[in-house]
Symmetry: C2
Subunit: 337 residues, 2 copies
DNA sequence: CTGTTAGCGCGTTCAA
DNA sequence: TTGAACGCGCTAACAG
């Protein structure tokens, strides 16, 4: 490894002079500067950021920890991209990992990232106790929570308006005459319970009893969800519309509708948009989140905490958007009870 | 920040003893060990990995640089996920970034990551000179190239069999009677030229002249590709089949076919699979790459270089798989010339 | 079994 | 304008 000393020796100056040249500080005699730069070039010297940081140097080239649920999930991937882009100007880099909704692993990841000396953290925490985040925040680590509400006053969060998004979806289906609406979801995390509550609120507004609808909160796995949807469709009293609570579940419902050749007559709205959703027959009506904006806001808040060394306590809610593509605009065809 | 000294003071021992306890090395008296562990717990001490590394400690908790084309692209995202998963057991973390096919930026990223003291690098390099990788490799940094061939003997690569995959796609369409096949792609990178060559080889095998087919190598942008496809469909001598050269282009072609209501009569095969491809009408026949396997192999090679301190020079080619879903099995309907 | 010494690469502080 | 000394947090090597 080429160190500052090697460069100094090659250029015939002291390490300090090299440091000054590399960091563009102070005034350095231009001949020396040239000598140093030539040596840097020749030896391929790359400064050791860890050592600088250890020595106490402040930099704006932050190392940001980014913990998402699953980097391969389209929503997470877009969020990742957005954060990366927002960070790019400052020359900051992200240490990225997926937590798979496993709280213990998330805790471990935070530890490891702290050991790696991250300057800030953006995390989509798994369900459950966020105490490990509180502890980390107390040491002065700036943290922003995304996609989940924060347990702590001192930790800001950026999150979609899950409740309102789902309520809109529900209202939309009701406006097309549907009452027997099947909701496939779970209640394992706060966003999911918010979506469930949005659905219930939509029903209540229209004075639809929860027994008239079909509410399945045990749908964790796409394959299982697909089977559930098929069996509902084949039951005595099938739904006239479906609501999917997240992107993988939406795909499952679409598969079920197609497998039973009912996609033209049974309505469907999905929470979370999917690539190609517009090219289906009919196109999938979706409640779209805005991962790009969420990422931008989260990054902006974090940068503010980092640069101004202050504690933020704001919680931002980003609204969703209902995109009508056909599947949600199928009117109820079945006779009224 | 809590350091080893703080813990030592709190536990009434020397820093060295704390180090031994934390690193589980040597034998430490069990009472002392307990005292130390209690202090660690109480103070929330997190060891500074950078400092350990600076001191020269070897660890198996590697920090791996991962430079992809675009973390939000489904192919890259799957690759990312696979690498992350393969790395997880060793407790390694990735410093991840997108290069947007910009060589200069990729060069800069490698610099920055080197400054961050990464132990190894997995990169999907942009088109153009890879000299910056050669230089980095010469300093002893283990590098594995993915999704692109390597310019250097000493840098191993893992890549899909683009040539063969595209040749299979072409043969497949030809076996359904197609001769006037429109290929929408570019030749801006080695994988793309390999796909182009695979297409040409497929034509040649069937003694189809290149003037009989439609070969567009100027399709970089999905929106532009969509327009191209529409205008081809509306021309005097339209193609009876399309080939898309990558995922975003496939979507564009599907959109064009649907917009012109020709998806049932014009065949189509896409290179790269897409979520929901099976739920289209007809389903999209695709040449699927295997990002999971590519990631596993790349990680395995890198780990071998890291752990055994040796230089690998192998190049691995991962085969593709043709998935028939309907769009590629539409026979030619137009009269023979 | 435990502590002391020294130094990894770097930059702040101060002296020249 | 330049350089020397010092110490950031940590641990290998040695001493006790």
């Amino acid at each position: 490894m080429i160190t500052i000393k090697d460069v100094a020796k090659a250029a015939g100056v002291s390490p300090m002079t090299v440091s000054r040249v590399v960091n563009r500080t102070d005034n350095v005699n231009s001949t020396m500067r040239k000598r140093v730069l030539r040596a840097v070039e020749q030896l391929g010297y790359v400064p050791n950021l860890s050592a600088s940081k250890l020595r106490g140097k402040k930099s704006t080239h932050w190392t940001i920890g980014l913990i998402l649920r699953d980097v391969a999930n389209p929503f997470s991937a877009e969020l990742h991209r957005s954060i990366e882009k927002s960070l790019r100007d400052s020359g900051s880099l992200t240490l990225t990992a997926s937590n798979d909704d496993d709280r213990d692993y998330a805790r471990e990841l935070v530890m490891t990232m702290r050991a790696h000396q991250i300057d800030g953290l953006i995390i989509a925490p798994p369900p459950g106790n966020q105490s490990y985040l509180g502890a980390a925040a107390e040491t002065g680590l700036p943290i922003v929570i995304v996609d989940r509400p924060s347990d702590f006053e001192q930790i800001p969060s950026v999150i979609s308006d899950n409740y309102d998004g789902m309520r809109q979806a529900t209202r939309h289906l009701i406006s097309y005459g549907h009452r027997r609406i099947a909701y496939l979801g779970d209640e394992a995390s706060v966003p999911m319970t918010a979506r469930r509550d949005g659905f219930l609120a939509g029903l209540q507004e229209a004075t639809i009893d929860t027994t008239e609808a079909i509410i399945r909160l045990d749908q964790f796995d796409p394959i299982q969800a697909r089977e559930t949807a098929v069996s509902l469709l084949e039951s005595n009293n099938p739904p006239t519309a479906f609501i999917g609570s997240r992107n993988r579940i939406n795909v499952a419902i679409i598969q079920a509708l197609r497998a039973t050749k009912r996609s033209e007559e049974i309505a469907m709205v999905g929470f979370d948009d999917i690539e190609l959703a517009a090219e289906l027959d009919p196109g999938m009506t979706a409640v779209a989140q805005n991962p790009i904006l969420i990422g931008q806001i989260a990054t902006a808040i974090l940068m503010d905490m980092l640069e101004n060394n202050r504690v933020q306590d704001q919680s931002v809610v980003v609204s969703t958007r209902l995109i009508k593509r056909g599947s949600g605009e199928i009117s109820r065809t079945q006779p009224l009870n």
